[in-house]
């Protein structure tokens, strides 16, 4: 009963203990820090935030005002058993109510483990494996074709010689993409080969060769309840794009076609949790889905700033509270990312590196 009360978030003065991954607030940032910032901003509940980090230099580990305590967890390649073992160990100390994983590469393991985690009283709010896999980059074109969504043509590449056939079908320029991250625009066969080897070395096979679409980049952050309902949608136009293609500044926009597109996606997939639709809008107004990321984007704090705090809504749904879908948001809200030199001491670095744990300021 204790767990039940705790899990539904009904207990007064009880902090919800939330573990969050992707604390790598670097130039190609993970969403963890933005997710935590949004959750902390919600006054409807009290939280204790547990950071889950893969590397000792993830900046979020040292952001003491945001993260109460951080634990290192094993890399996704270590498998689900190792991950579960570590999470149970952390749970014994922290009594986790909820885990919000935010890395594409770790989601497979967390989705696999979600029933087992629930047995320990740890909630997640993740898509089913089927939903997760349907929007995978390597299946996205077929997914779009099946559901009447525009997706650029693509071809999976397992060996460099397959690029020739891909070029015949797709032409140049083409976009050479890794299965999890990275995308390089190639204008020639030589550039495509170079991109293939570069991405293969980092992310393995297959590589995706995708038709290049020229246009305006729009990203949409959406939150689904798992029953086909969209709880929140925020479309954002990128205003400043880094050399890695990441938005360094963006603005919320008011275009119902993007809202409808996100709702259609959530309805088709019965998506549970946060996701990001990466859209390219051509000059003739056609919208192509370039990618669907199965988690909140790094710019998700903008959703809170615009009046729809998606991470907080996810927390409420995950602990069993009813939420009302939000419609209204503020357009013209701008985020501008910045770099900041956070200073810490060797002692802190040593703690997280040596013992795999680091306590934040708040809980001291």
């Amino acid at each position: 009963m204790e767990n039940l009360v705790k899990n539904t978030g009904q207990k007064n003065n009880q902090k919800i203990v939330i573990a969050v991954t992707a604390l790598n607030a670097i130039d190609s940032p993970g969403p963890g820090v933005a997710v935590i910032r949004a959750i902390r901003e919600c006054s409807d509940f009290e939280v204790r935030i547990i950071g889950l980090a893969y590397e000792s230099l993830e900046p979020g580990i040292y952001m003491n005002d945001l993260v109460d305590r951080t634990y290192q967890i094993p890399y996704p390649s270590a498998g689900t058993d190792t991950l579960l073992g570590r999470l149970v160990q952390i749970h014994q100390k922290e009594h986790l109510d909820l885990i919000i994983p935010n890395f594409d590469a770790e989601l497979f393991n967390f989705i696999k483990l979600k029933d087992k985690l629930l047995e320990y009283g740890i909630n997640t709010f993740l898509p089913e494996m089927e939903q997760f896999e349907a929007r995978d980059k390597i299946k996205l074109y077929e997914f779009g074709k099946k559901h009447g969504l525009s997706v650029p043509r693509d071809k999976l590449i397992y060996q460099v010689k397959d690029l020739v056939e891909a070029a015949e079908q797709i032409g140049y320029p083409m976009v050479v993409k890794g299965k999890f991250y990275d995308a390089i625009i190639a204008n020639t066969a030589e550039q495509a080969q170079k991109a293939f080897y570069q991405i293969q070395a980092k992310w393995g096979l297959p590589i995706i060769a995708q038709e290049f679409i020229n246009g305006t980049e729009i990203n949409i952050a959406a939150l689904g309840d798992g029953k086909g309902n969209t709880v929140s949608v925020i479309p954002m136009r990128k205003l400043y794009i880094t050399d890695k293609g990441k938005a360094w500044a963006g603005i919320t926009i008011d275009d119902s076609s993007f809202i409808d597109l996100a709702r259609k996606f959530v309805k088709i997939t019965k998506w549970r949790g946060g996701c990001e639709l990466e859209i390219m809008q051509t000059s003739d107004g056609k919208s192509y889905i370039m990618e669907v990321n199965p988690r909140f984007p790094a710019w998700i704090y903008l959703s809170a700033a615009a009046g729809q705090n998606q991470p907080a809504l996810l927390v409420k749904m995950a602990v069993g509270q009813q939420v009302t879908p939000l419609i209204v948001y503020e357009t013209g809200k701008i985020f501008i990312r910045y770099a900041w030199d956070l200073i810490t001491n060797i002692g802190e670095f040593q703690k997280i590196s040596g013992s795999g744990e680091l306590e934040g300021k708040k809980s001291k």
């Binding site: 305006t216 919320t252 926009i253 275009d255 357009t331 013209g332």
Partner: protein, 79 residues
């Protein structure tokens, strides 16, 4: 020729299109014209108002206004 309903403007000549996220700056006369378009004034009344207020050749202003409206249309600011 009407300004799209959701276009935000300021007296300083700042124009924001919330559908696309684009923003623009226009000069004082441009700002006056935008204001009149917002009030759903006809082209003829805009021409008369500007020519009455400023020392400008009407033919020249009509050509300039035509250019300006084409730009606003290209930027999807007009309906």
């Amino acid at each position: 020729m009407r300004l799209k309903k959701n276009i935000a403007t300021s007296e300083e000549g700042f124009i924001f299109n919330p559908s696309t996220g684009d923003s623009f700056s226009t000069n004082g006369t441009g700002s006056e014209i935008i204001g009149m378009l917002k009030d759903e004034k006809t082209l003829q009344s805009i021409i008369e108002a500007i020519c009455a207020r400023y020392d400008v050749d009407q033919n020249q202003f009509e050509r300039d206004l035509d250019d300006y409206l084409s730009q606003l249309k290209d930027y999807t600011i007009l309906e």
